[in-house]
Amino acid sequence: MAAPDFYFAINATFRWMLERCGEGGLREYWRALGRQHYAPLTERLKEGGLPALRDYWESFYAEEPGAKVSLELAEEALVLTVHTCPAIKHLRAHGREIMPLYCEHCTHVSAAFCEPAGIGVKVEGGRGTCRQVFTRGDRS
């Protein structure tokens, strides 16, 4: 199992980036991360579409301690419901101040690796639970 204290570093990194670079700089960091680090995933999604994305999230959340999620795949959409976000849960359990834009990273990072594969991203909710909808669309 991975060390959940790494969530502290993720939260701190976003806070530091916001203070040093502003909201635009923080969002550009997330977008660059999604485009560059996750480029191999984008290639898998170009080939495998939404089923490949479902497989990715299944494997991903299986490794995150305390995560509770469900996935529903239809022809045109994949819905990821996060019942318990492992990061928010861990940060709260340890009394860490959660930086105000924390939940935005899911939208920006996912969009950056999904959109080039023709998959749209919409995230509703946040702060511990959310609903993420991934839809088939045109490749940008």
Binding site: A2, A3, A9, I10, A12, T13, L33, Q36, E63
Partner: protein
């Protein structure tokens, strides 16, 4: 979502992103201001008020959780760690990833400020191949680095046959040599 299971890969990528966008100085500020002062608050809260006791508690918990290959030894004047299988760099090597040119540097980048505030200096070497040692001693009257085997006996990583195979960076009393 950025997960804790993949964090080391993100960490390395972020180092290179910061070097590229903000220079080495910006990256060092990140290690000190973000990682040392914010992320590792739990380490500060143990080590700064409690010294060696806090180090034993912090590194015992953290390295065990990361499934690190290491040994530690404590004397009245020193706390020493010998790391023979760094899990963090090992993960990067397993993925063939090395975005930033000196991943090992980040440990001194965040640990040294904590030790400085706690009244300690550190003798340290790492070989960029998953092996390193740390000898933390009081800043007020720091003894010199021990001779190989002097504190850790046969566990001293400097006696390991693979120690010299890497490129070794060295600090004495928290100063790069």
């Amino acid at each position: 979502m950025i997960g804790c299971a993949e964090f080391i890969l993100i960490y390395d990528w972020t180092f290179e992103y910061l070097r590229r966008t903000q220079g080495e100085e910006g990256l060092r500020a990140y290690w000190e201001e973000c990682i040392s002062q914010d992320s590792q608050l739990h380490a500060r809260e143990l080590i700064i008020p409690n010294g060696f006791d806090g180090m034993e508690e912090y590194w015992g918990h953290t390295l065990a959780e990361e499934e690190a290959g290491y040994t530690s030894v404590r004397t009245p004047d020193a706390f020493r760690i010998d790391m023979y299988a760094c899990p963090s760099q090992g993960l990067l090597k397993a993925h063939g990833q090395a975005n930033y040119h000196d991943y090992c540097e980040h440990c001194m980048g965040w640990i040294e400020p904590v030790l400085r505030e706690a009244g300690f200096v550190v003798h340290h070497e790492h070989n960029h191949d998953c092996k390193c040692w740390w000898e933390i001693v009081p800043a007020a009257s720091p003894p010199p680095p021990s001779e190989p085997g002097g504190l850790a006996g046969a566990d001293d990583i400097r006696l390991n046959a693979e120690w010299q195979t890497g490129r070794i960076d060295c600090w004495v009393a928290s100063r790069r040599q």
